[in-house]
Amino acid sequence: MKTTSGITDLSQRRPDPLDFCTLAIQQSRQPVSRCYHCQRCAGGCPVAEAAGITPERFLRLLHLGLLDEALESSLLWLCVGCGACGIRCPNDISTDRVIDEVRALSIERKQIASAVKDQRLFHRLFLRQIRLFGRVHELSLAMALKLLSKNWFSDLLLGQKMFFKRKLPLLPHRVKDRRAIRELFDKGSDR
């Protein structure tokens, strides 16, 4: 999309990224084109600083069909879905829902980007646990996450403290009807 001098060439908007963006916006059912960048969402977003991009900027990328950049932004994975953007937007745009759509679509189309890999890992491990047990077992979830993200020593003390207060049971609680749970996963799309 960028010319050699670094300018974004809009008249060559490739149909594929545009379609993806249009579809994501449509499925989110949010009136994204109404955004006039007042920055209300930006000011209230808890992760905007950490992500280096504000919600309305993210929407702008989608609106212009600049998909690659949207997918590569950290906001896609740092968004916690707190909903502050949505309730403060004068145009009633819940950007968190748009972000959910973009994420889901990127998984569906296998166009997953690499920013904040560990948060995606966290979500995947979380769901894997539910698929296996029907409920989340915090101890093994945390351990698996730390191991796989090679973050072996962080929160070790916290984990210890919680363990000794019996807040991290050794064994998982399990749902009896795990077959129903597995079916539920197999019917829905899951990555």
Partner: protein, 282 residues
């Protein structure tokens, strides 16, 4: 007095044990009957809806199905579980296509007259009874009557429409209830500011920053403690704080007002002993 299907959520038996205990104790004292939903599953929290809308819906719909089969309204202590369950409930109510698919898949008939409540709402419904029960107890206690900052977190009142009972920016239910029981809830600006939620394990630094600001705001408002209604909020506020500011579950404060003897045990379960952190009374 009241019969509810209790949907505890995954944290209740682990990181939020004191929440579960205080809830059950308070309800028992008031004669509110909690039937734990048999074979309930995880709601998916933020992970399900982040990766798949279908799975997110189905997980909560299954729990609703279980409650429906028992013919009970649901009461949910955790804000995230409440948010996901309510979302599924509203979808089942408003989207005939999805309702048909989920009903067939999960084998139940949706009933719009069976409600989903957050624990706060149920307690508010029983406020008169609470007051009456509390009136007979002696007020002398290091915790009773403290100045508190009620922290709702981001999911109890958002998005728009998920909670018809509360104002989105300055909710008041918890404060009103605690005020009736002799506490002094303060007006402050961080009641619904997100703590950073599920980022805690991967980006603990972001959560720490958010938590420190929330605690600082509570301090500035003149609070002696923060009160929560969500296991993840509580966990983050306690584990990621740079200080040792007291954080209570609201049900624990109700328990104190009711003069329940087992409160001592709850304090020991906290990561930061909340009672030790309270300033001396004049």
């Amino acid at each position: 007095m009241g019969q509810y299907g209790y949907y505890p959520g995954c944290s209740i038996s682990s990181s939020a044990r004191e929440y579960d205990r205080s809830t059950r104790a308070v309800c028992a004292t008031l004669g509110i009957h909690l039937t734990e939903l048999p074979d309930w599953n995880c709601c998916g929290a933020s992970s399900a809806h982040s990766l798949s809308k279908d799975i997110d819906l189905a997980l909560s719909a299954r729990n609703i199905g279980i409650a429906h089969r028992l013919g009970l309204d649901m009461v949910v202590p955790c804000a995230a579980c409440y948010n996901r369950t309510m979302h599924a409930w509203q979808t089942l109510r408003d989207d005939p296509e999805k309702r048909a698919v989920l009903q067939a898949q999960l084998g139940f008939d949706f009933r719009a007259d069976l409600q989903v409540y957050h624990l706060l709402q149920v307690m508010e419904q029983h406020l008169a009874h609470l007051k009456e029960a509390a009136a007979h107890r002696l007020p002398e206690d290091g915790v009773r009557g403290r100045r508190v900052a009620c922290y709702y977190g981001c999911l109890i009142t958002r998005p728009r429409g998920i909670n018809p009972h509360e104002d989105m920016e300055y909710p008041e239910g918890m404060g009103r209830m605690l005020a009736e029981l002799g506490y002094q809830p303060l007006r402050w600006s961080f009641a619904t500011e997100c703590c950073g939620a599920a980022l805690s394990l991967v980006r603990g630094d972001v959560v720490r920053e958010r938590v420190d600001r929330i605690i600082a705001a509570a301090r500035e408002a003149g609070a002696e403690a923060v009160v929560t209604a969500c296991p993840l909020c509580q966990l983050n506020l306690e584990s990621r704080q740079s200080d040792r500011f007291p954080v209570f579950y609201f049900t624990e404060l109700l328990g104190v007002a009711l003069g329940l003897p087992e409160t001592e045990k709850w304090w020991r379960l906290h990561l930061i002993n909340p009672v030790k952190g309270l300033p001396q009374r004049a």
